[in-house]
Amino acid sequence: MVFLEFEKPLESLYEQLEKIKAVGEEGDIDVSDKVKELENKIKTKTKEIYGNLTGWQKVQLSRHPERPYTLHYIEHMCSKFVELHGDRYYADDKAIVGGIGRLDGMSVMLIGHQKGVNTKMRQYRNFGMANPEGYRKALRLMKLAEKFNMPIVCLIDTPGAFPGLEAEERGQAEAIARNLIEMAQLKVPVVCYVIGEGASGGAIGIGLGDKVFMLENTWYSVISPESCSSILWRSWDHKEEAAEALKLTADHMLHFGLIDEIIKEPLGGAHTDPEKMSKQLKSHIKKEITALLEMEPDERVMKRIDKYANMGQYDIIEED
């Protein structure tokens, strides 16, 4: 198990539990009471820690190395899945994956950022930072979905679009912008879920939909707390303050009306019970798509555009 800094009190409790269990296995002493006591302690402590997470702690949780990523969810949700590769112009981006999957009798197009599960794979997936071809592959798959009348599910988990030299040469900005204008007009239902990090243009590049949801311990912001700290505070040391100031948690996003709902995670985060999380996500996706399919395509598109048109609060100066 990997313990984050704020989870340290749990680590020692888990260590004690392991030791006592080992003693019990030797068989001489009955430890069952002690085990129960410790398990209760862990439960209480977990509730205590997780009941009151700060913005920065949620950012850390969203980056937990054991957190389930897009392909994990796809694998656990779909009875069949065929991954599709390439943007047909330049390359196949490994930081965005996609393909057609079967969700209990319904074919859907699943698209998401993909991070690596170990050091080697993290590099291979470019840490979930897509290049223009990733966004263009995503758009190709969305158009394919539209052609065959399949709903689209987008899973968002990126520290940002890749800020590289070649990404600029091949039009990172154009690729993201194109996705936004095209996604606004897609005739099929589009549901988006922030499953980890929702950083800026890189996130919204596959994030414009009829409904947008966030898992409990994720964040969505115009900039990462670290970069915000470095620009506005001119130092990397203010990431906690930046995380608070940016109001980037799911709670804030729901309060501002920028997302539709928060998906609860198992106590301790999605990584503590990935299977349960996958089941929850699957039933949520099915429910939402079914509801969206009730609407006529044109009506759905108009509602989608209106939803975004209404985002933002402002004042009006009274003329006098």
């Binding site: 800020p163 900005a173 936004l180 243009g201 115009v222 900039i223 100031a245 985002m311 004042d315």
Partner: protein, 298 residues
């Protein structure tokens, strides 16, 4: 609205918007270091007479250059609301007040309708002097309303971008303006009303990754910085020097992301030409010539 009310009296006494173009008698070119009188510079549409460097100018300077005289400003009554109660080393409301008193602008974009060689056009032009030309809710909302106006009146829209990207102090609200402006532009595309995107120095971040790159025609001033990520961030990421001319207008033209680059002196004529060519009811000189011939033969 507190930040605005404090300064309201100041606005009412101001007779004209402070322009971004340099004040004072002399202007020293940032590119070639040569000195020019301010009068000379203005007569040369704010380009250095020695090296043709395009000096950064503001929304109202562009309105003066492009429109035939008069124009009507729209939606300037929409102003920022500090929903997040954002504070870094400064309060966001203090940043807003400071920007207002420095520029007399109420946000980083101004919208105006007018005529270009007698053809109607709506221009939404950004100001870098207002919090780095950053895009927050007000920028998104003014563009959104400009689009509604253009759709109702079937008038072409031109957006002049000049921005460091999305405004951090409005966090996800700023981010959502990317989706909002793009979604609204999809309605322009569907209705067949032309949208011209003109990029000026600098155009970066969320602005480039939304409306700036979505023009039916994308064009720019020479040597403008245009990109998604800032050069400093890219340099830190790839840990190598960036090639000469990287992320300039010329670089983007070369890589297929711009239709053309236009000198500021030719800007108005080029826009007028496009407006004529994009107008389905336009009867060009050829047709007029033919008609004349017919008349003459009679």
């Amino acid at each position: 609205m507190g930040w605005f009310k404090r300064l309201k009296t100041g606005i009412q006494t101001a007779t004209k918007f402070k322009k971004e173009a340099p004040d004072g008698l002399w202007y020293k070119c940032k590119d070639c270091n040569e000195t020019t009188t301010r009068k000379e510079l203005k007569e040369n549409v704010f380009k250095c007479p020695h090296c043709n460097y395009h000096v950064r100018i503001g929304s109202h300077d562009y309105f003066d250059i492009i429109f035939d005289g008069n124009y009507t400003e729209m939606f300037s009554d929409i102003i920022s609301k500090d929903v997040l109660n954002f504070q870094d080393v400064k309060k966001y409301t203090d940043r807003l007040s400071a920007a207002l008193s420095k520029t007399d602008l109420t946000d980083a974009i101004s919208v105006a309708s007018g005529k270009v060689n007698k053809k109607p056009l709506v221009i939404a032009a950004m100001d870098f002097t207002f919090i780095g030309g950053s895009m927050g809710t007000v920028v998104g909302e003014r563009i959104s309303r400009a689009i509604d106006y253009c759709l109702d009146e079937r008038v072409p829209l031109m957006i002049i971008s000049k921005s460091g990207g999305a405004r951090m102090m409005e966090s996800a609200f700023s981010l959502m303006q990317m989706a909002k402006t793009a979604a609204k532009l999809s309605l322009m595309a569907k209705a067949g009303v032309p949208y011209l995107s003109f990029m000026t120095d600098p155009t970066t971040g969320g602005v480039t990754a939304s409306y700036a790159m979505l023009g039916d025609i994308n064009f720019s001033e020479p040597k403008a910085l245009i990109g998604f990520a800032g050069p400093r961030v890219i340099k830190e990421t790839i840990k190598q020097e960036l090639p000469e001319g990287f992320q300039t207008s010329e670089f983007l033209l070369d890589h297929g992301f711009l239709d053309f680059i236009v000198d500021r002196a030719d800007l108005k004529e080029r826009i007028a030409e496009l407006l004529l060519l994009l107008d389905k009811t336009y009867e060009g000189e050829e047709e007029l010539e033919e008609e004349k011939e017919v008349v003459e033969k009679r």
